[in-house]
Amino acid sequence: MSIIPVRRAATVGAVALIALGTAGAFASGPAYAKANASVTVVHGIPGQPVDVYVNGEKTVPGFQPGKVAGPLSLPAGQYDIALTKPGDAIGSALLTVNDAEVPADANISLVAHLDAGGKPALTPFVNDTAKLAAGKTRLIVRHAAAAPAVDIRAGGEPVFEGVTNGKEGKADLDAGTVSADVVLAGTDTRVLGPADLDLAEGAATIVYAVGSAEDETLDLVTQSITGLHSAPGGVPSGNGGQADRGLSLPWYGVGAAGILLALAGLTRLAVGRRR
């Protein structure tokens, strides 16, 4: 299978990146010191290894389909991204995106995939890296395949319905293993899976449906983002009261008796002296 450079797909990607950058700029608020953006590259085009160039520099050589590269820590700014056949000159790139805006502090996945019509595209997704409550996990499912709208099911129940190419479904769930599959929207016609997903606590698991339904190359690619955990609310570990190391009642009694005795003695002394 060969990939034809598709200028339109690339343009769409570039526009999306720029739109993303603009949104990021407005949302970022006061001028804090900006952290680098975290950028991960996901390869979801079957059958075609590529070299990934960032600003003309070969960054990920021999990048195989189904693999995930990164994260790259990139200062905010504009980037030229190009995908070539391994060893090819950057001038004969399969896909290029120029002046892609990478906003500060963002966590982005840049996904090389097929669009709904089966043409290669490079689509940026913004990853939700908000902290998770203790015990929770985040599942994000992205449609990046040349396939119609699908439902994503967990344990046989639809969790994300009518997801189309370039879109995602997202939910925070209890950590643990779920059996997930992908069916044509509104049907029981399975196109992918079932696959057991071990959803780690405090992490986001991003599952990409990639490939082509027509070419029967549909597959799943998974990316994980860890470090989103929170500490438990507390550690309640006793309700008996035996370990209270405060002064126990008998000793208070001894002290009180002592004070009374001393007072009584002093009174007698005072009275005796008066006589």
Binding site: D196, A200, P232
Partner: protein
């Protein structure tokens, strides 16, 4: 009579002073990880689903407390969002979402009851009496031992304890033991404080 009274006051005073818990001690543990600079070559990983390996400690022994307790893998109490400490007081609970037995980094957390109204004294009844240098041994899967040495004992009000630090998954590897302590409120059946003991791998 005055002398007797004064001496009784003095005795009770001495007992009161002695019953104060020993002062906390601590050796700081580096928590902040060093963030790697932008790599020239990007790590490439397989896009297959990750698996969480079984790395659960099974026993905890502390010779200084004559303690050898079974360790249960526990998570979060769904109702409260709190650490799900095993209800049985002779067991302690390892926080299965955090670093495990053989973790190279972060805080391995084991919490246990100081006591319970139903079962009396718990495995961690005397945790607060551990001293610097005391040995704590975790037994992992397959009977492998990992020895730690106490470096810190701290007591915090539950409302002020820096739990994020104790449940960190990065920084130097350490074993964190947690139980309850401090004054007990008989009305709410809660201790006011948490006692935290930190131990680092023995050299």
């Amino acid at each position: 009579m005055v002398a007797l009274g004064v001496s009784l006051v003095a005795v009770s005073g001495v007992v009161a002073c002695q019953s104060q818990p020993a002062a906390d001690f601590a050796t700081p543990v580096a928590v902040a990880p060093s963030s790697a600079p932008a790599p020239v070559r990007v790590p490439v990983s397989d896009g297959s689903p990750p698996t969480t390996g079984a790395d659960a400690p099974v026993r905890l022994s502390i010779p200084a407390l004559r303690l050898d307790a079974k360790v249960a893998a526990v998570g979060i109490d769904e109702r409260t969002g709190d650490f799900a400490v095993p209800p049985s007081v002779d067991r302690v609970g390892w926080y299965r979402f955090g670093p495990g037995f053989s973790a190279p980094a972060g805080s391995i957390v084991v919490a246990g009851h100081v006591d319970s109204a139903a079962e009396g004294k718990g495995a961690f009844f005397r945790l607060g009496s551990l001293e610097a240098g005391d040995v704590v041994t975790l037994t992992g899967p397959g009977g492998k031992d990992r020895a730690f040495e106490v470096t810190a004992r701290e007591r915090y009000r539950k409302t002020a304890i820096p739990l994020e630090k104790y449940f960190a998954r990065d920084g130097e590897v350490r074993l964190t033991l947690i139980t309850c302590g401090g004054p007990f409120d008989a009305a709410t059946k809660h201790y006011r404080d948490n006692v935290v003991v930190t131990a680092v791998p023995r050299a």
